[in-house]
Every structure is written in structure tokens, then in C-alpha cells.
Symmetry: C2
Subunit: 549 residues, 2 copies
């Protein structure tokens, strides 16, 4: 065991988000990325999902460092939760560290000082028994990188999130020669981003969005309002450049986007000519044809800027019939209905609403199949492990690798929590640790599990009925009338008859009941369940409470 | 008023589904389609959404007839609810009437005899003061039609759901000459399907799916299992034909699809060569390479055949590593997550899983922009009213008509419940009737409104806390301990401390309370809301019940 490398994914395999990987050698652990996932539709009321840190709990002093591959939430967002439990230096590029620092201070207070260590393409950074070589690789935010990691058993590579964008609008172009050079000495295992594995071909460059946006900025009779992800800095740069061309000033609405803009500009990642950026209040006083607004909420999130503008409830931005609104993203699966609802409102308020596929105003930040093949072809790993993606993405990525001649037995479709041991002679899953969801709801971390979610799901579908059943402590007989409360079951004004029927069904059942707490409870539950199903074919949650008086 | 035609849409405008239109002249009403809508994600617990029949309630004897344009649920599904309230003959083509008759008998019993009257392309059918001319127009089910309707103020046309499929795999090709001939005498108003208005170009013919399915049937090492809509009979015919070519027998899993198959075959709409169809049990005993299975559940519905096969819980069909599974549909907005989850399970069980865009295995049943233009070009109506679609679809369809030279003032983007008066001299919205959602939940129709849905939404997010507060009838003092019940708030094993804190916050508040029912209630609600938000940042629904003993 000691002379093997262990690869332990704690998140991002079998899902989009909460990417987190451990590399372990002896009593040394290197962590790559610590991300969050945004909840799926059936995770009712949940705010965030983070990786399960169980495996690390008795190995806190093994952790030598945390490397972050780029500055997106699904790679950095769970850092505050991890750093509550373990202490380790964080290695990344300059922009990422700035974003991470801001995040940590939001959580831990303005004086919090994390141990942040800058690394750059071309470096060779010792972290315990590992040597990490960062390589610039393009994505939708500058300063993204792949990693070559030298371990005592050999070199492995991790792609991070990537696309091959030869003409990015911000940040460095991908260093393919660097990857080839690092791979030349032989790569034991490649761990590569699978998000786009269903997509044939080559993801278009960010730069290909220029014609559509150029036309929009030129022809729009008034303001151009572009919604995109707060962290999509490459898009922001493109729009600053084109706005400049047509004499438009850029204003930003949405706190997260404004903060990212400030950070990236300060560090020089965004090139903003003097006067190209104006405050929202200033923009609101300018001739509309001289204004571009960048806003958050491209996913239809009800609390973000664009949805509020669509609903007419945004404090500072009131849409009018000269505005051109561009949604510069695709809906993330699960958000389609909210995005559609927002567009339905926008078409009533704006001059024009533009979104994919009506015009070429969005490209993915992830590699398509040909780029995945390109990476495999450059690296030529002995073992291949698809990471970052749902089951089907990992599966199609594995097939792709197989189609390029990597034998199936050297491809490992592993899951969160699988412990994969890698040696020169072979590779196998030797054990399993906790890899499941940890839910964050309010300030609670991990205190909501499947049971509470099942309760919420039942309540969502049919509401509840609680019944308070008073009994005498001595005689155990009913001591007064039972009291029933319902919510989410029937509309109360029309429900009088239904509820009266329920009360009488309940009373009958209680009268027939044996005189024990549990008998009263069971009978009340059965009688009411049966009653509501038979009369209105609904199944509210029935919660009887027997109280001894 | 008497010499005007009134167009009153009760469903389908501003939404996909529950299509229903009234044409009214004097005291005569002609109804076109009576469909259901499937609930959106935020309609928690709702089974179906139907049109609001309020407008018809005091005009029941005005209804001269109901014309159904084709046999899909979103055009026929609310008939049972309407026929509970009004009595009128139903006019449609043969296949539609057979499907409608089955549906009505399922609702009203096997002896129910509706007044069904067959009409066909080329007919001119008098219904009160209206003369209806059905014209075959292609869609994804045979026997779909557009309608020209002669009224005392002139001829209007309604497209029904349509695409222009010159090579349908079942049913008639669109009768464009028929439309042109009917339009030649002048069309006052065109009401046309807007569903595909975001899509450029021309929707591919059903026939274009042949190469992909041919390859799949030829190369698949075992069974080919194709999921599609139960009502997509054209797809079924295509797959029967190709299966035949490669010596595969077709079996059907899923009750609704099996029923539609039987009905369509009996009436001759599906051409099924002798022996081409086998029962599921027979198919399960045949060599896998000789089997095609058509199954329901292409939208990931958990109770349908494919989702159960994916989860390994289907009684009759157990997937194995020689099966090829084809999902021959696109997810309807809102179903993406469920479809993705199903695919993630399928890739683990099957040899291959194929779905759009991995292969060309699905085409829409609705017209794209060029087909919409084609229809407008043939009909050249004086007034244009986009129907069938969400706000954005209606909007883009209106723009399309404008781009073809119809002046904006002759285009009417109306909404459900709008009463549009149409005369030779003009057209305007003169009034508004109830056009909102009527929810069906269990056997309840219309007894659930926004308030119950808001309650369900709140319960879904954070659960509830009910508190029974016993007080003395006389002294109005607390008479014993309050009892608290929660569900969906916190996981009970970890929640002891939280709940103890809640109890003590509650007791403090009650002790300080004035001695009235409402004061106890208000104080309990405030204290608990504040407590749960401050300790765990959650907002459960707090329901205090003060009981006088």
C-alpha cells in the first residue's frame, strides 16, 4: 500500500459540480479542487451540496496542500467548509487566489488570513512527496490550468475544466506544447473533464461570438443588456471590447459579477480602457444607445438581476421597448422552465430578446469530443480515468478513449468515494469511502438527509394534516375533542365539507380504538389516510399527536 | 355585437397545452379542441391543468358542436371534464373519434355513448351558423387537420397542430392545394400553431429518421428498445417498417402505447404485416436480435416503462449488456433532469444508449419558421392571430407574420380569456373572461388555487412546525405544556438540541403573552420563526393551534 498512489474522488464523478479529488501517497494527501454543487430539483430547500469530508477526518495532518485548478464555484466553493476542519496551504494562480481570498473573508471575516501560495505555468512546485506542474489550459475564466503531478510511482495528469480555445478573449491560450513536453516522459494516468462528452466536434472559441454581438451592439436602438454567468470573465472582456467599438459604456448589475469584475480588473485580467466602465446610476442617465449592461441571472434565478428586470421588480433597471436583451448562456439542466418563464416576460417588455439558438451568443466552456481526443492524443496515458460529469458523460468519455486505442481494461469508470490504487504495474479499485452528498441548508451542514427530503417531498405533493388528540392520563379515554390542522391539502373555503367528513371519520376511529397512545395514533393515521384518499384521492402526510392531560 | 364573430381562446395561449378555442356568433358557439396541460414544476402535487369553463356556464345551450383537430391529449384530454357540464356533438376524423371514445369510456364507464360524428378532408359540415371544412395537415399522428370555418362575417382558418411533412410515415400528406383553394376566396383571420416559432428553417420529415434507425436495427447486437410518446403513431409505423426489414418483431410495453397501437391498427392507420407484432411474453423468449421493443417513458416519467427498466424495477423487461436503447424524443422543458437521471442509469445497464443529439432519432411534430411562413403565404389572411405556444412563441410568430408584410395592427397577440371581436371592417379585443388555470388534483377539480400551492411550496422548502397550545377556558392561562411537532425541518436524531431550544423559546414567549387566543398564536409564531431563523437560518411554516380545555 505504501508504494502505491491512491486516487480518491470525493465529488464530481456522477454529477456536475462539487469537484474534489485526493491524491494520497503514504501519509501524504494532495487535494485538487474543493467545489460545491447547486442542488437538483428534488433536493427540496437545500442551498448547496458539498463533498463528504469523512475520509479526511482521521488524516487531517496528512494533508500537504490544496491545489485549485480555476476560480469557479464548483471548484472552490466548498473551501470554507473544508478549512473549518483542516489546515493546509492553498496553491493556485493569481486570479484564483484573489477570488478564493474574497470568498474566505466573506465566510470567516475580513481579518481571515489563509495560507495562499501563488503558482504559475512552468513552475514545478513541491508539495510533500508530490511535484505539481501547472499548465495553462483554456476554459471560460482566465488562469485555468491543467496539472501534471509527479508522484513516487510516476507522473499523472489532471485536466481541470477545459476547452481548447486557441483564441480566448481573456487569459492565456492553451499551452499544448507544454502539455506535450510534460507528457513526453510518460504519463501513468490521465484524469480528464468529461462534461461535454455528448457533444460531437470541437467547441467554438469564445471569439466566434464576436459577429453576433457586433451586429447586436451596432443595430440595437437602445441599451444592450447582456446576461451571463458572474464568473464568465472571458465573455465580459469580449463585450467590453465590442461596446467600446460602438461608443457604448459598460455598467454592471449584480453583486457577484461586479465583485468579479473589480477583482479581475485590478489584477489586470480584464483590460478595461479608461472610461469604458460606468456605474449603474451613471448609465441610467446616459443616452440608451451609449449603454451596455452586464447583468446576472442568465439561469432565470428569481433573486438575480435579469429575472427581477423581467418581472418589473428591479430597483435600478426598468426595461423599456428600446432595450435589447441578450441571454448569453444555455439553461443548465433543471433551469429550463425558469429561463423560459423569464423569456416569456421579457418579450413583453423589451424591443428584442436574443438567446441561443436564435443567435450565436453562447459557447460552452467545456471540451467537445474532438478536443477530448486531442488531449488524450497529446498525453497518451497508460491509464485513463474520466472525471467531472454525470454517469453518461463519464461513460461516453471512456468510450472515446477506447476508440483511440486505449484498452478497456486500462480505463476506469470510477465513482465518488472509490479508492483507486495506481502503480506502474496496474491500477485497481481497492476500497470505498463515503462519497455521498452533504447538504447545506441555512447554517446546517449535513443535518438534512434523505429522510427530511422525503418528508419535504411528501409535503410538497399533498400537504399535511396534524391532529392533536387529548386523552386522560388515568383512564386513557378521549379527554375532549381532537383538533385538526391542515395546510397544502385543500383550499380552505371549499374544504369545509371535506374537513367535516375527516373529523367524523377520525372520531369514529378514535372511539373504536384501544386505549393506548400508539393505538390512538395508528387508528387516527389509518382513518384519515383512508378518508382523504377515498374522498379526494390525495395522500396528505398525517401526523397524529396524542397528548396525555 | 350580434353581427360580429367572437374568438375566445380558453387555453393554449401563453402556454404549451390545454388548447381550447371558442368561436361565437350570436347565440352560437363552436368549440375547437378541449385539451389538458401537464403541470409545471411549481404546480406541486397537481395531476393535470384544464381550461376554465366559466365563460360557458350560462351559455350551455349555445354550444352547437365540438371539433377536435387531432388525437393528442393537449387537444382532447379535458373533454371528460367539459362533457360533465355541457352536451354537444363531437366532430372529428375517424382515428380521433376512436381515441376520444376510449378516453370517455375510461372516465364515464363502458356504456357511455358520446355523440360522435365523423368528418373528413373535403367535407363541408354545417354546425349551427358555421360551416367547417377540414383539411388534412401533417403532424406526428395521422388524421390531423386544419380547419377552414365559414362564418356569417367571413371565412377564418385554424391550423391545428401542424408541420409540413411531405413524406409522413403514416397518415396523409398535407393538402396544400386544399388549403390554397379554401384560401382563394379570402380568409378573414388565420389562427396558427406557434410552438416551433423559435426554430429557424424547416422541420425535417419523419422519414429523415430512417437512416439512423436503419443503422441501429442492422448493427444492434441484441434487442432494440425504442422509447417514444405513446401517441406518436408515425414513429411507430416507421419502426415497424424498419424492424420488418431486419427480421425483428415488434413488441409494445406500456399500456397507453399498446392501446393506441391496437386502435390505430384496427382502423388501418398502422400497417402491420402479419406476424410483425408479438406479445411481450413472446418477445422475451425470442433471440434478442429478432426483437424491437417500443416502450413508453421517453420523458423519464418514473412510473413509465423506460424509467422502470433503467432502475431495474420493470416486471417484464430486464435490460442487459446486449440491449440498444433509443430515446426517440427530446425532453419537454421541465423534464430534463429526470431524463438525464434515467440516461445515467441506462448507460450502466445497456450495450448502447442513443438519444438526440447523439444520432438523428427524433424530429419535432411542429412547424419551424419556414413552414409557418409557408402557411401564411398560402392563406394570406387579413388578420393574423398566433395560437398554441408560450408568450415568446406567440411573439416570434407574430414577428414572422410582420416580416411577411402583414401590418402590425392586423396582428393580434391575444391571451387566454381575451374576447376578440372580428368583423370585415376590423378586429379588436372587446372584453375578457376567465382564462386561468383550473387544477386537477386527485378527484378534485378547481379546489386547489394559488394559496394551497404557496403552502405546498413553503412546506417543500422548509417543512413545518405545529404547536398545540392548551389554555384554560376560564382563566385563559396556559393549561399544561405546549406540544410541538415538526416534519421536513431538521433530521430528528441531530435535532434534539435545536428542538429543545425551540421549546424554551416558545415557553418564554407564551409566558409573556397576553391571555387571548390570538396573542398566544401570534407570539408562538413570532418566537418560533425568529428562533429557527436565528439558529439554523431556516423558515419552516409555523402553525400554532390554541386549544381551550
Amino acid at each position: 500500500m505504501v508504494n502505491k498512489l491512491r486516487f480518491i474522488p470525493l465529488g464530481g464523478l456522477g454529477e456536475i459540480g462539487r469537484n474534489m479529488t485526493l491524491f494520497e501517497y503514504g501519509k501524504n494527501i494532495l487535494i485538487v479542487d474543493v467545489g460545491v454543487m447547486f442542488p437538483e430539483a428534488d433536493m427540496l430547500g437545500i442551498d448547496l451540496v458539498i463533498p463528504n469530508f469523512e475520509y479526511l477526518r482521521d488524516k487531517k495532518d496528512w494533508v500537504r496542500g490544496i491545489v485549485i485548478t480555476h476560480g469557479h464555484e464548483d471548484h472552490t466553493g466548498a473551501l470554507p467548509y473544508l478549512l473549518k476542519e483542516i489546515n493546509a496551504p492553498i496553491f493556485s494562480t493569481r486570479l484564483v487566489l484573489a477570488l478564493v481570498e474574497r470568498k474566505l473573508r466573506e465566510h470567516f471575516g475580513r481579518k481571515y488570513a489563509a495560507d495562499l501560495r501563488e503558482i504559475n505555468g512552468g513552475d514545478a512546485v513541491r508539495i510533500g512527496p508530490f511535484t505539481v506542474h501547472p499548465v495553462p489550459l483554456s476554459h471560460s475564466i482566465p488562469d485555468s490550468m491543467a496539472l501534471a503531478i509527479d508522484t513516487p510511482v510516476g507522473r499523472v495528469m489532471h485536466s481541470g475544466d477545459f476547452k481548447i480555445d486557441f483564441t480566448p478573449t481573456a487569459g492565456e491560450a492553451p499551452n499544448l506544447r507544454g502539455i506535450a513536453a510534460l507528457a513526453a516522459e510518460g504519463v501513468l494516468a490521465l484524469f480528464a473533464d468529461s462534461t461535454g462528452a455528448e457533444r460531437a466536434g470541437f467547441t467554438p472559441s469564445e471569439k466566434t461570438l464576436e459577429p453576433a454581438f457586433d451586429r447586436i451592439m451596432r443595430e440595437a436602438p437602445g441599451r444592450v443588456i447582456v446576461a451571463s454567468f458572474a464568473s464568465q470573465l472571458n465573455r465580459l472582456q469580449l463585450l467590453i471590447d465590442i461596446s467600446q467599438r460602438y461608443g457604448r459604456k459598460v455598467a454592471i448589475a449584480g453583486r457577484s459579477m461586479a465583485q468579479n469584475f473589480e477583482t479581475a480588473r485590478k489584477l489586470g485580467y480584464l483590460k478595461v480602457p479608461k472610461g469604458a466602465h460606468v456605474r449603474l446610476e451613471t448609465a441610467n442617465k446616459m443616452p440608451p444607445k451609449q449603454v451596455t449592461m452586464m447583468v446576472t441571472g442568465s439561469q432565470g434565478q428569481p433573486e438575480a438581476a435579469l429575472a427581477r428586470m423581467a418581472a418589473g421588480t428591479h430597483r435600478d433597471i426598468i426595461l423599456n421597448e428600446t432595450d435589447t436583451v441578450v441571454i448569453s448562456s444555455n439553461p443548465i439542466p433543471g433551469n429550463e422552465e425558469e429561463v423560459a418563464r423569464m423569456i416569456n416576460q421579457l418579450v413583453d417588455r423589451a424591443h428584442e430578446v436574443v438567446y441561443p439558438p436564435l443567435a450565436h451568443v453562447h459557447v460552452s466552456g467545456h471540451a467537445s469530443q474532438e478536443e477530448m481526443k486531442l488531449l488524450i492524443s497529446l498525453v497518451q496515458p497508460r491509464f485513463f480515468v474520466p472525471v467531472h460529469g454525470e454517469r453518461r458523460h463519464l461513460h461516453f468519455h471512456a468510450r472515446l478513449a477506447e476508440s483511440m486505442g486505449i484498452p478497456r481494461k486500462r480505463i476506469f469508470e470510477v465513482q465518488n468515494g472509490d479508492i483507486l490504487e495506481i502503480g506502474e504495474d496496474g491500477c485497481k479499485v481497492v476500497d470505498k469511502t463515503a462519497g455521498g452528498y452533504i447538504f447545506v441548508d441555512g447554517t446546517g451542514v449535513g443535518d438534512i438527509g434523505p429522510r427530511v427530503l422525503r418528508e419535504r417531498d411528501a409535503l410538497a405533493k399533498s400537504g399535511f394534516v396534524t391532529v392533536f388528540i387529548p386523552i386522560s392520563k388515568k383512564s386513557r379515554q378521549l379527554n375532549g375533542k381532537p383538533h385538526m390542522v391542515t395546510r397544502g391539502v385543500v383550499y380552505s373555503e371549499q374544504a369545509d365539507e371535506v374537513l367535516k367528513g375527516a373529523e367524523s371519520a377520525l372520531q369514529t376511529a378514535l372511539k373504536r380504538s384501544k386505549r393506548s397512545k400508539s393505538a390512538y395514533e395508528t387508528n387516527a393515521r389509518d382513518a384519515l389516510s383512508r378518508y382523504f384518499y377515498q374522498t379526494i384521492r390525495r395522500r396528505p402526510m398525517i401526523v397524529p399527536v396524542v397528548v396525555e392531560l
